[in-house]
Amino acid sequence: MSKKTLIVVGNGMVGHHFLEQLVASPAAAEYDILVFGEEKQLAYDRVHLSEYFAGSTHTDLAMGTSDWYTEQGIQLLLNEPVTGLDRDQRTVTTPKGDYNYDELVLATGSYPFVPPIEGREHPHCFVYRTLEDLDAIRASAQAGKSGVVVGGGLLGLEAANALKSLGLQAHVVEFAPRLMPVQLDTDGGALLRHKIEELGVQVHTEKATTAIVAGEEARLRMNFNDDSHLETDLIVFSAGIRPQDALARSSGLEVGERGGIVVNDQCTTSDPHIHAIGECALWDQRIFGLVAPGYTMARTLASVLNGDQDAAFTGADMSTKLKLLGVDVGSIGDAHGQTPGARNIRFNDEQVGHYRRMVVSEDGKKLLGAILVGDNSHYDTLLQYALNGIALPDNPETLILPESQGGAPALGPDALPETASICSCHNVTKGDICGAIDAGCGDLGSVKSETKASTGCGGCTALLKNVVDSELEKRGVEVSKDLCEHFPYSRQELFHLVKVNGIRTFATLIRQHGRGHGCDICKPAVGSILASCWNEHILATDHVPLQDTNDTFMANMQKNGTYSIVPRIPGGEITPDKLIVLGEVAKQYNLYTKITGGQRVDLFGATLSELPEIWEKLIAAGFETGHAYGKSLRTVKSCVGSTWCRYGVQDSVGMAIRLEDRYKGLRAPHKVKMAVSGCTRECAEAQSKDFGVIATENGWNLYVCGNGGMRPRHADLFATDLSDEELIRTIDRVVMLYVRTADRLQRTSVWMENLEGGLEYLKQVVLEDSLGICAELEEHMDGIVGTYQCEWKTAVEDPEKRKRFREFVNAPAQKDPVQQWTTERDQRRPVLESA
């Protein structure tokens, strides 16, 4: 049977999601799939478009990879817009040729509406939709001082924030009397305006632009209908979007009065072989300008193509929760109270800047809509009431009152019905989550990867965690944070006990707060806590029995019981003389020698008793321990940076050495890796590290909580354009917070994902000092830096400590008989039969 051809026009968010759904279904086998994209790039995450200005690249934002398309056998034709559609012949036309289809999917999205104002073609006028738009805005902003956004809606305010981040004085010009007229009411709009103006963005409402002409002090002048004017260097239009329905119009498909390709519940147009999904589709006279409804349409259509008779798109919730210029804004359901008989409950605290409005049904039983400005903490609860029609309590106002004034606590996950939608991006209900747990998912992470919940916009993270925890508890899964049978505390709690009570030994801690004598779980964990708190030598008598063998012998045990040695080579910079010493020592002790991924040299095959001798030689040559054995800072990798590289903008090696010298030896819940790149080309791969630093023209961008290894994760952009001192202070704070609050053996990535509030919360704590602990964190770190000692130096100088390195205490000359060697590629390697 020859395959049918399915053509998708548009490689945007929804088009891509549709393909993901389709290829995972049986129908995929029936079709040859072709995709046309007008943009040069593969589908990317438009929702997070603004992050492009904060340093994210197309690769970061991309929804998939071209390899994925190849693997799935999908032909992806980018930079090739479809210009014609012949429904009788079933062909589409592009500048490169004609293509036949059996089924056609239009996923063409929408385009920004630019009001017909005289002068709008001026080269410094832009829209805000694609990566190319952003490139053009960035170029224009470079030589400019000010920028205006026309349109005070959701996207307009986001664009204003972007202009501000590009260093421009930002203005917002809005035709309506308030900001976000669609989502907010007068009071909410006023509060938002106030907050935004406080942040230095100037808001001009009730202004209609009549013409754009050449400016006197800036590039452009905007004339308004009230005879006032405003000068600016560039203009971004964000006055709404229009569905991209050009192909539908030219081919006579049914379109809406105000645009949009008319579709039925199956996302099929007036032509049974043509379907439309995403922002270009008009369903029940409505356009959906959000990604979640588009995804729902994509899933519906994939089911329809699989012959599912029942698949239907039944509308979507348009509630939104956002942070605009750092201000929380939320809008749920019928926010304006247009339902007949609807009643309003308002809470307005101008002092702190919180506004909340509930729209309640006539009988006071149901929540119809809500508006939140300044604080979104009530959003999840209110949304669940509205979406699931949960009966309101007798005094519904308690839902929006502060707890100090008798406000009700947030709706517990138990109160939600099985059908409650938890993640709207991926259409995951509470029932789906319970199903995943019943099928074996035992923690948040596995529920996430199984259901995809919380992997879209991320808005549902906190709610998801609550549901998962509560369901696990119900099933009797201990969501126990106990470290082990000896301590009924989490690592964080133990850290607190040690720090607050000034406990300095394991024996004291277990006597006062634990039971039994400890084990291989709690001993190293406590050892690490003690080291993080007091920074005493790890071979101090009390600490020896706490350490894993690698920490005890300050080297990494290999499979035959010998050790490998990794001296510190800060930033990967090493003099030829030191390199020669490494070679000589390796040769003398016949050590297998290998370059590590962290720009150091690893020497394998040293016996226990050789370790102190070898270190004596290395220390004499100026080496220090590299802590490759510890849960502590490993390396700070770097590229050569501005000293040598023609692209470099900062001295990345210098910074790497500075960081490595500062944080070396710090004991942490798990290993910590860092890297510094000298420019955005990122040769040091900093974004795969716990702390990644990338040089900018103005300083350093800091990325946090990435890792390579088993479950790679890109680091998140945390702060931009930091000075040297700011960079170090910021890292100090994040590292210390991690050391204090992470679980045992939790990498920074997992730690951050499990922090309630995630990255945003971390930013608040570290950058805005929302908990008021930053000074303490810095002080703690300074204390640790001040008490650093090279553990190996201390050990080789102390005869008592050296005694530990006797292989057999009663037979110094006895060789370990199982350590047998052979030669491979000119070096020694172990033979070990039973391994």
């Binding site: 084990c519 291989d520 035959n560």
Partner: protein, 122 residues
């Protein structure tokens, strides 16, 4: 016939590390001696050889107690061994050899089999 044994003096109290182990060489091969001062008796001796890897490393493992039994965790693959019985807690079929151990004045002595060929030659 029961092999003849003798009490081999392997080290002194000063060689021991509280809450931890050391390795000694005996006629029976490498043995790990642990000193857990909070227990009575406080000395334990088991084979130094980790049965899972074949490497001589058990003395370098972390000690502790699990459900009341004194244990050491192999530093390589982390299985636990009961210090009294030698039984592996994770795998019923695996155990390590144990040795009677006693404190004689300042000396630690292990009971090991007499090497037959040597005694005959002597």
């Amino acid at each position: 016939m029961k092999a003849r044994t003798y009490w081999d003096a392997v080290c002194t109290v000063g060689d021991l590390v509280p809450e931890s182990g050391i390795a000694v060489w005996t006629e029976d091969g490498p043995v790990a001696v642990f000193y857990l001062p909070h227990r009575l008796p406080a000395l334990f001796a088991i084979s130094h050889t980790d049965p899972f890897s074949g490497a001589n490393v058990l003395a370098r493992g972390l000690t502790g107690d699990l459900k009341g039994q004194p244990v050491v965790a192999s530093p390589l693959y982390k299985q636990h061994f009961n210090l009294v019985t030698g039984q592996c807690l994770e795998d019923e079929a695996v155990s390590v050899k144990t040795y009677p151990v006693l404190l004689d004045g300042d000396e630690i002595r292990l009971e090991v089999a007499v090497n037959q060929s040597e005694t005959e030659a002597a």
